[in-house]
Symmetry: C2
Subunit: 386 residues, 2 copies
Amino acid sequence: MPHTAEILLTLFAVFVAAQVGAEIAQRLRLPGVVGEIAAGCVIGPSLLGWVQISEPLEVLGEIGAVLLLFSVGLETKLDDLKKVGRLPIAVGVAGVAVPFVLGAAWAKASGFDTPKALFVASASVATSAGITARVLQDMGVLSRLESRVILGAAVIDDILAMLLLGVVTALQGGEGINVTGLILVLLQAVGFVALIAVVGTRLMRRFSRLLDAPINPLSPLTLSLAVCLGLALAASSLGLAAIIGAFLAGMAAAEADQRHTLERQLQPVMAFLVPFFFVVTGANVRLSELSNLTALGMLLVVTSLAVISKLLGSGLGAWSLGKRSALVIGTGMVPRGEVGIIVASLGKQAGVFSDTIYAIIIAMSLLTSVMASPALKALLKSETAP
Amino acid sequence: MPHTAEILLTLFAVFVAAQVGAEIAQRLRLPGVVGEIAAGCVIGPSLLGWVQISEPLEVLGEIGAVLLLFSVGLETKLDDLKKVGRLPIAVGVAGVAVPFVLGAAWAKASGFDTPKALFVASASVATSAGITARVLQDMGVLSRLESRVILGAAVIDDILAMLLLGVVTALQGGEGINVTGLILVLLQAVGFVALIAVVGTRLMRRFSRLLDAPINPLSPLTLSLAVCLGLALAASSLGLAAIIGAFLAGMAAAEADQRHTLERQLQPVMAFLVPFFFVVTGANVRLSELSNLTALGMLLVVTSLAVISKLLGSGLGAWSLGKRSALVIGTGMVPRGEVGIIVASLGKQAGVFSDTIYAIIIAMSLLTSVMASPALKALLKSETAP
């Protein structure tokens, strides 16, 4: 059975490379995802060429992305939002608006047409709170006001990013942008997100015990995953990104009584499947696209823009806490991580991003993730020092 | 992104059908797997045609089968074998030998050439202890001698079935059978199984703490899964069935200190991926192949042969315990379940099994699984009654 052996070889190579990459990265005190993507670059066509991107591998990667966004949604509890008050909302909104506007302006100035420019911009808005949360936890400052603002704002940020992504993906199909079209798309995206976020979460709060009705003891997990696939399908059929549906399914599942069981049981499933997403993402990066001065210059500009716009936006939103706290919060919001990477791979799939812009956005997402932790640590340390 | 939507539709349909099928089957007091395979028949090309078998779906199914056999291996502890003594070995060996010989004789008489006849026969040897174990547990008789003999014999049975499968798959490539070739293949299969079963388990016992060395808190699971994929690849490259490698990886992992954590964490991964295997298996069944009297007659003969040969073989092995205990043990060994189904799908993939013989073997595996529990319950009840 040579075909089975071939597929198993790919699965084995991808999975082992991800484990090795994540371990090396973590030993170097970098986020594991940086290592997994780097591993993909190394074993992919760009360098060693051990792994070719085949359809089954792409599907495994897509499943990984869907599970990843489901878990991001699962960490997004509407009630937590109500508790945190207005400040995180200001930080989240300004932290999305400034990078989006500046990103779109840059992309437009670089020669992209408006729909593509908006897509590029939407890849640079979402904060990956995971990295920041780990730094805050390591330093024992999770209960500080700044920490709570960052984590609350990251939730707002995720929801807004999904909404923006919904609008920009839907815009790619059309012939340019007209006001009626834009309003229709916006209504559709807002409607879908609002429907699931409001009605879905209420239904889940009221009927979550039904998740335990089937005989299968793992039914809360299997039913939630079924809802996740179903909403991903619904989003995809509406012309929105599938991961928006997965994210909303996670948000709804976060309201279930079985939330903690779901979180625990989702870990092993993600540990097996999410590496396929990151390695495929890395393997799709054509390193040669970054090996000239023009591209490196562009990467420098995009990364600086991403950092500065986020610092500016989130910092302004938190200005009322004082300059220093605003700086801590802005820095904590800098990492782009998973969501930026997923948006980049969506853009590549849809044929909106060239190999160059794809490579640049992936690299920018990784760089912001890598830079944020030492900067945040340095800021917090200088504070506690006399 | 219509392609993404199409794939998500397939994944959603398959996953939901599996959940519904398993639930209905369990409400009818049938094993869940029967419902999942039936669901596959219903949504597959045979009936509704909602799902076409595409390459990504097949790969997901293969991953499910590999995980399934890994978990079977994880329940196979070498030390348990040493404790149970000789009786389970006699029951296991005779319970494999008699069905294999009778199955091969029937297949040869039905016109298959020798390699194919041996493949058909190997699909009818392995006992699925899971169903029996649940019945014994439900009736509170797990600690009885017969129960321990059944569960011990099922372990022997699994190992022998993998060995046989190794030999017969390797034989399919060649041009007929010659004694030298057969001995070479046998040596290769025995060598591979013995190497992993003896050396692998020892290495795992001694070095299992290394599974916890990486920073990733789920590293025992991810490393075991990497070994599982690696040994599946190794088996496949040697011309043996990939699932043999997965089974042996499970057997090695069963010796790890982290065994119970592995078992617990493997459950959610399997809950997500194994349904794809069973639904694909069901969707591959051409129901029309069973809708004529000849095929139904053949199914009757094959099923009767499978039941009688197992009763005879295992019963003879347990004869020293008396007629009644021998009957209980023989009945407990009747269900074929997962392993028979996996062998059938391997045979279909390799082009050895026609649609008819594939449908018959799947149906036989399901029928033996369905029949065994009521028969076993009746036997055990009639005993406890005055």
